[in-house]
């Protein structure tokens, strides 16, 4: 569904992504794990168009999207939950969700989708008139995910959804991710919490200083010695 071939990205003189290739098939949860600064966020930002590729190709369902503007990519079905959530803090929960549906014009369906989001995240329904900045970290993460779903994406890009959350909440967020996947949305998940990510992923890639070093099924990687040592804190 989403295919990246030999992607290179530079920040000025820094070579942030080096010849990255990866593949996400329809219906999968694929995770990209790696340390801080390895290039995970850059990869997602380049897929959604916020960063420009210097070379290589990104395609969605066979269509080359490497050089099109971010809003167009949203229209084609790519939705990103950015690092640090990036909700609109001065706006209400409801307005945040409405902005998620910015490109849609089907008012009645948007309303239904907002109800669905409230069913999935009841706390958002209880706080729909509250300004989003007053929500707790976990609630903001839920809002960011709900907002991203409002565009009815074919593929959802999640950037560190567990960041800064209590362990119990992390588990809840991961259950929700699995649930979103079960209802038909393909997911590319970037995480530092490798054990959690591998536990729900069908396939995984490991990125180190801008290059993919290992890939395999979630299970394989969870068992691999190298991964154990580097990312899972095993001996």
């Amino acid at each position: 569904m989403l295919s990246i071939k030999n992607l290179n990205v530079h920040y000025g003189v820094i070579h942030a992504l080096k010849d990255i290739s990866l593949e996400v098939n329809e219906g999968e949860i694929v995770t990209l794990i790696g340390a801080n600064g390895a290039g995970k966020t850059t990869t997602l930002r380049t897929i959604s168009g916020l960063n420009k590729a210097t070379s290589g190709e990104i395609s969605l369902e066979g269509k080359d999207i490497t050089n099109i503007a971010p809003p167009q990519r949203v229209k084609m079905g790519i939705s990103q939950v950015p690092e640090g959530r990036r909700i609109f803090p001065e706006m209400s929960v409801l307005e945040n969700l409405e902005l998620g549906a910015f490109l849609r014009n089907d008012k009645a369906e948007i309303k239904k989708d907002i109800e669905k989001i409230y069913n999935r995240f009841p706390i958002l329904g209880n706080r729909k008139r509250q300004t989003a900045g007053t929500l707790s970290g976990g609630e903001q993460q839920m809002l960011a995910m709900g907002r991203a779903l409002m565009s009815r994406p074919r593929i959802l890009l999640l950037d560190e959804p567990s960041m800064g959350l209590a362990p119990l909440l992390v588990r809840e967020i991961f259950n929700i991710i699995k649930d979103i996947n079960n209802t038909g949305t393909t997911i590319l998940l970037v995480e530092q919490n490798a054990s959690m990510a591998l536990s729900i992923a069908s396939r995984a890639y490991v990125i180190e200083t801008g290059a993919i070093v290992i890939s395999g099924t979630g299970e394989e990687l969870a068992k691999s010695n190298e991964i154990q040592k580097a990312y899972l804190g095993g001996e």
Binding site: V74, K75, P89
Partner: protein, 292 residues
């Protein structure tokens, strides 16, 4: 007491004009963090367009107002596209200096075409004066206040109830996140310039009628005062610009009325210094938020 009320009436009508100009400053600042020093000159050109529409085309007040607003909206978008958009990723100081350059350019290009002399506006609105107690209210003042109020209501509607308005707020909060919603940032910025400039154009026509004289450098002082008004209200805040504009207008007429009209400009800028010391974020300004 009646003198005080009289000064308040004068202050509110002057302040409505400052508020209209201040809105443009504050909206542009909110969305691209630029103090658009050319904004006062858009107001000046608005006054000239109104002048041309009424003097040469013999149009009335409302058509002239609408034409001036539309032309200024186009001018504002044009300036943004030509001068500011290429500098989107440059330092803020580079854009600021460009704005000052654009301001001088507009003043002297205008002077080249229309001459430096002061021109007088035709009498468009009723010269009637209403007397309530000992307070005199000119019909023109009522027009100014009513026009300002209507435009502000329209603006509130656009910003809070329309999709474009929501896009403007989203872009001013977080450009990247706005793009991820599918919002076209450049188009939204252009729209913001269009609205802000249209309001300046309206203010230009109102001032032309009220003071009955216009010249190519007329935008400098009201532009600066509207900037002070925007800072006073809290730059980036729309209600702040409205309150700030009224506040500065009232302050100016009180200083002229009770003290000496020579001091009114000095008073406004002294006030700016005081705000910057005591409450740099302004009345309704946001404190800079820390990123969580």
């Amino acid at each position: 007491m009646s003198e005080f009320l009289q000064q308040m009436v004068n202050g509110i009508s002057l302040g409505s004009i400052y508020a209209l100009i201040a809105l443009g400053y504050t909206m542009v600042y909110g969305i691209i963090k630029l103090i658009n020093f050319a904004h006062g000159d858009v107001y000046m050109i608005g006054a000239y367009i109104g002048f041309a529409a009424t003097t040469y085309a013999q149009l009335g007040f409302f058509p002239a107002l609408i034409i001036s607003m539309a032309a200024c909206a186009v001018l504002g978008v044009f300036v943004e596209r030509i001068a500011y958009k290429p500098l989107r990723n440059s330092s803020r100081i580079a854009v600021l200096i460009t704005a000052i350059g654009v301001s001088l350019l507009m003043e002297y290009v205008m002077m080249f075409f229309v001459g430096a002399e002061v021109r007088s506006y035709p009498k468009l609105l009723s010269e009637r004066v209403f007397e309530i107690g000992n307070v005199y209210i000119k019909a023109q003042q009522l027009y100014i206040i009513a026009t300002a109020i209507i435009l502000m209501i329209v603006l509130q509607f656009i910003v809070h109830k329309t999709k474009t308005g929501k896009a403007m707020r989203a872009v001013s909060i977080d450009k990247d996140a706005a793009q991820l919603m599918g919002i076209k940032v450049d188009r939204t910025i252009s729209f913001t310039f269009a609205i802000g400039s249209a309001f300046a154009g309206a203010a230009g026509v109102l001032v032309g009628i009220y003071y009955n004289s216009i010249d190519p450098l007329m935008g400098i002082m009201p532009g600066l005062k509207a900037f002070v008004a925007a800072v006073f209200g809290g730059i980036g805040s729309i209600p702040g610009a409205m309150i700030g504009g009224l506040g500065i207008g009232i302050m100016e007429t009180l200083v002229s009325g009770y003290w000496n009209s020579m001091y009114r400009d000095a008073a406004v800028f002294a006030f700016l210094i005081i705000i910057l010391i005591l409450k740099p974020a302004g009345l309704l300004g946001k404190n800079t938020r820390e990123k969580v």
